[in-house]
C-alpha cells in the first residue's frame, strides 16, 4: 500500500518536473474543471398544477370513458372557485418520488457526469389518453363538417356568402391577435410553422374551448419547435380575450378556426 503510493507520487513528481522543464511557458497550475452537478427530476404531475388539479382529474376520467371532448386548457377564470387548500402540496409526497427517481438513475454515472434529464416532460402535460381522445374527436368533427357541407344545397348559397366574416370584421380580429402573439424567435425558419387552433366562443368573444388540430405533432420527435409554437399561439389567444368579434351573428362565428403561421415573420 505504502509502496504504491510512494511510487505513484514519485512518478507524478517526475512528470510534473518534466512538463515544467520542457514547457516553461505553461501555466502555473492546471485550472480546475467545473465541478459536477447532479440533476434530479422533481415531481411534475397534475398535482403540481394546483388550482386545476381536481378538475383535471375529473376531465381525464371523463376522457377515459370517451364520453366527452375535453380541452386541456381549463378556463382561468374559474381558478378562484377551486379550493386549493384541499390539494396536497408537492412536498407532501417527496419520499415516494425520490424512490422512483433513484431507481431511474444510473448509479455509476451520477458521480462523474451531470445527470441528464429523462423524458419526463412528456408526461407533464399530455396524458396519452387525453391526446388520443382529442385526435379521435377532431376526426369525428371533421367528418361531421364534411358531411354537412356535402349536404348543402343550391338553396343555401345566400347563407354561404354570409357565413364568412366581412373584411373589416376579419381585420379587426387579426389586428387584435397580431398584437397578442409573441412569436418565439428561436424557431427554424425552413420548417412548416402552421398551427391550426379551433375555438369555441361565447357571444362576448371570450373563449370557451381551444383545440389544436394537429395535436399529434406536439410530441413528434424532432418537432419540438411545433409544441413551442402551439403554446405561443395558445398564449396569444388567452392574452387577447375577449376576442374582438362582430357584435352580431354569433351563430356565424361561435366556432372559429385560427391558423397561426410564423413563416412570413421569420423569413422576412
Amino acid at each position: 500500500m505504502h509502496k504504491s503510493i510512494a511510487a505513484s507520487s514519485a512518478l507524478h513528481i517526475i512528470l510534473i518536473v518534466l512538463a515544467t522543464l520542457s514547457l516553461p511557458f505553461m501555466s502555473r497550475k492546471p485550472i480546475d474543471l467545473p465541478p459536477i452537478i447532479s440533476v434530479e427530476l422533481i415531481q411534475i404531475t397534475d398535482k403540481t398544477n394546483i388550482p386545476y388539479a381536481p378538475k383535471a382529474k375529473k376531465i381525464i376520467e371523463e376522457v377515459k370513458k370517451k364520453e366527452k371532448l375535453v380541452s386541456e386548457q381549463a378556463p382561468p377564470k374559474k381558478v378562484k372557485k377551486e379550493k386549493p387548500d384541499a390539494i396536497p402540496l408537492p412536498d407532501e409526497k417527496p419520499d415516494k418520488i425520490k424512490e422512483i427517481e433513484e431507481k431511474k438513475q444510473n448509479p455509476e454515472k451520477i458521480d462523474d457526469k451531470i445527470k441528464q434529464v429523462s423524458e419526463f416532460e412528456k408526461k407533464e402535460m399530455f396524458d396519452p389518453n387525453e391526446i388520443a381522445a382529442l385526435i379521435d374527436k377532431s376526426k369525428e368533427e371533421l367528418a361531421e363538417t364534411t358531411v354537412k357541407s356535402n349536404k348543402v344545397t343550391q338553396s343555401r348559397d345566400k347563407n354561404m356568402n354570409m357565413s364568412g366574416l366581412t373584411l373589416s370584421e376579419e381585420d379587426a380580429l387579426k389586428a387584435q391577435i397580431f398584437g397578442c402573439w409573441s412569436i418565439p424567435l428561436g424557431l427554424p425558419y425552413n420548417e412548416n410553422l402552421l398551427v391550426r387552433i379551433k375555438l369555441k366562443l361565447k357571444p362576448d368573444g371570450s373563449v370557451v374551448k381551444t383545440e389544436i388540430l394537429d395535436h399529434a405533432r406536439m410530441n413528434t420527435p424532432g418537432q419540438g419547435f411545433y409544441k413551442v409554437l402551439a403554446e405561443s399561439a395558445l398564449r396569444a389567444i388567452k392574452l387577447c380575450q375577449p376576442l374582438r368579434v362582430p357584435s352580431t351573428g354569433y351563430e356565424r362565428w361561435k366556432d372559429l378556426q385560427l391558423n397561426f403561421d410564423a413563416r412570413e415573420m421569420l423569413e422576412g
Binding site: I42, I50, Q73, Q116, K198, R252
Partner: protein
C-alpha cells in the same frame, strides 16, 4: 326512398344554425418582442442562508442564482425579464402555488420559481417553470452540486428554460476560450484565457511570455488547440485543460497555424506554410499520421469541418483574392462558394450544418456574415472598422467575434473586444472581459 330524401331536405332547411361552414382566420403576423418572463428570486430558509453565506460570502445565493438566470435570459434577446419590484407574490409561496392572476397582472407570460437548500455539504437547487396564461407547470428540476458551483446552476436552469420555451437547445452552460490582450499595439502581450459564457470565472492558461493566437476547443471541451510562438517557432499546440499539459502537434519543418479539431475530436486540421505556400493538412492525434488535403501554390488556410465531418470549408486566394471554398474532407471536389464583391475569410461551419459564417472585407469595412453552404443567401450581420473570426454558439443561433477600434493620428486609442450577435443580425452585445480580448472560441454545452 323519395320520402326519406325529402325529409332530409326539410331537416337541412330547418336547421339553419348548423349549416355555417367553419370560419378560418389566418394569423400571419405577430410581434417579435422578447417574451415577458418573471424570475422570482429562489427562496431559502434562514438556516441555509446563514450556512451558505459563511461558505460563499454571498448574502443570498438564491437571489444571486436568479440574477444569473435573469441576466442570461435578457442577453439572449428572446426574453424580457420583468422588474422584481413589481412582483406581488413572495418567492417561497410562488414556488409552491403561484397566483397566476398576480403574475398575469404584471404582464408576465412565464414564471420561474425555485428553492435553495443544503443537503449535507451540497447545494440543492430546485426550480419550476410556469406558463402563467395557461396556468400550469411546464418544467420542474432539481440540481445538487458543491456550493461554489452555484453560478453554473444558474446557467443550467437558463438552458432548460430556454429549451422549453424556444424549442431549441440553450448555450448558457458554456465557456469561451480567447486571447487576452494587454499593452501597446506594437507590443501586445497575449495570453490564453478561459471564462464562463457570461464573462465570469476568468482564468489565464499561459503567462504571456510568448505570442499565442487562435485557440479552439475540441468537441468535449477538455482540449484546446492553438498557435504559439514559443521559442519563436510558430507551431500548433495542444493543451489539456484538465492537466495543464501542452505539446506541439506534429513535427513540421515550418509554420503550422489555423488549427481546428475535427467534429469527432480525433484529428486536427491546420495550415502548414513552407517556401511561401500554405496548404491544409490533417493530423490524426492517435497515430500521428499526417495527411495533405490541399495541394495548390496559393494560400489555403482557415479550414473548418462540417458537423458531419464530410466536408471542409476553407479560405484560399487561388482565384487571385481571398475567397471561401468548400471541398470533400479528402480534398476532392473543391468549389468556390463566395462570389460577392470584396474579400472573404475565416469560414466556420455552423453546428446545425446549414450555414457558414465568415468575415468579409469590402471597401475598407469589415463585415461578419453568414451564407448557405452552397454560397447562396449571403446575409451580412454587422459592419465595422475591423472585426473578424466568428465562432458559433453550440445551438448555432449566436456568433461571437472580436472587434478592434481605429486608432487616432497618434496611434492611440486601440482596443480589442469580444462581441456577440444573433443570426438574425439583431441583439449585438459587448461580451465583458477582464482585459482586451480577441480570437474567441465557444465551447459546446458542458452539461451534456
Amino acid at each position: 326512398m323519395k320520402k326519406i330524401n325529402f325529409l332530409i331536405f326539410l331537416l337541412l332547411v330547418f336547421l339553419p344554425n348548423k349549416s355555417y361552414s367553419l370560419i378560418e382566420v389566418d394569423i400571419t403576423r405577430g410581434n417579435l418582442n422578447p417574451l415577458p418572463i418573471a424570475v422570482s428570486p429562489l427562496s431559502s430558509d434562514e438556516k441555509t442562508k446563514i450556512a451558505l453565506e459563511k461558505e460563499l460570502t454571498i448574502k443570498d445565493v438564491g437571489s444571486e442564482i436568479a440574477k444569473v438566470v435573469e441576466n442570461n435570459l435578457r442577453k439572449s434577446g428572446l426574453f424580457n425579464p420583468l422588474n422584481k419590484e413589481a412582483f406581488l407574490q413572495k418567492s417561497d409561496i410562488a414556488h409552491h402555488k403561484p397566483r397566476f392572476e398576480d403574475w398575469a397582472l404584471i404582464k408576465s407570460q412565464a414564471l420561474i420559481t425555485g428553492k435553495v437548500s443544503l443537503q449535507e455539504e451540497n447545494l440543492r437547487v430546485e426550480f419550476r417553470l410556469w406558463d402563467v396564461l395557461a396556468g400550469k407547470e411546464m418544467l420542474a428540476l432539481a440540481f445538487t452540486t458543491v456550493p461554489k458551483n452555484w453560478r453554473r446552476v444558474g446557467h443550467i436552469i437558463t438552458d432548460k428554460v430556454y429549451e422549453r420555451l424556444t424549442g431549441e437547445k440553450g448555450y448558457f452552460d458554456t465557456r469561451i476560450i480567447y486571447v487576452s490582450e494587454e499593452g501597446p499595439k506594437i507590443k501586445r502581450i497575449k495570453k490564453l484565457a478561459i471564462m464562463d459564457q457570461d464573462g465570469f470565472n476568468t482564468k489565464y492558461l499561459t503567462l504571456g511570455n510568448e505570442l499565442v493566437l487562435t485557440p479552439r476547443f475540441n468537441p468535449t471541451n477538455q482540449m484546446v488547440t492553438y498557435l504559439s510562438y514559443f521559442k519563436n517557432l510558430p507551431r500548433v499546440y495542444l493543451l489539456d485543460i484538465e492537466t495543464g499539459l501542452q505539446e506541439v502537434v506534429g513535427d513540421f519543418p515550418g509554420m503550422t497555424f489555423a488549427p481546428r479539431f475535427s467534429p469527432d475530436g480525433r484529428k486536427i486540421i491546420m495550415s502548414f506554410a513552407k517556401d511561401g505556400n500554405s496548404d491544409i493538412y490533417t493530423m490524426d492525434l492517435e497515430n500521428r499520421i499526417v495527411e495533405k488535403i490541399t495541394n495548390h501554390p496559393s494560400i489555403d488556410t482557415s479550414p473548418s469541418y462540417s458537423p458531419n465531418g464530410k466536408y471542409i470549408t476553407f479560405n484560399s486566394d487561388r482565384s487571385g483574392y481571398q475567397q471561401i471554398y468548400v471541398m470533400k474532407s479528402d480534398g476532392s471536389n473543391v468549389k468556390r462558394i463566395s462570389f460577392g464583391n470584396g474579400l472573404y475569410g475565416t469560414p466556420v461551419w455552423s453546428p446545425r450544418g446549414d450555414l457558414i459564417a465568415f468575415t468579409k472585407l469590402h471597401k475598407g469595412k469589415f463585415y461578419i456574415g453568414v451564407m448557405r453552404t452552397d454560397g447562396t443567401g449571403e446575409r451580412l450581420l454587422t459592419e465595422n472598422y475591423y472585426q473578424e473570426a466568428p465562432s458559433w454558439s453550440p445551438n448555432g443561433r449566436v456568433l461571437i467575434f472580436y472587434r478592434e477600434t481605429k486608432t487616432n493620428d497618434k496611434g492611440e486609442g486601440f482596443s480589442a473586444k469580444l462581441w456577440s450577435i444573433d443570426l438574425t443580425g439583431y441583439n449585438e452585445r459587448l461580451v465583458k472581459t477582464e482585459t482586451d480580448a480577441s480570437d474567441p472560441s465557444w465551447s459546446s454545452l458542458l452539461s451534456n
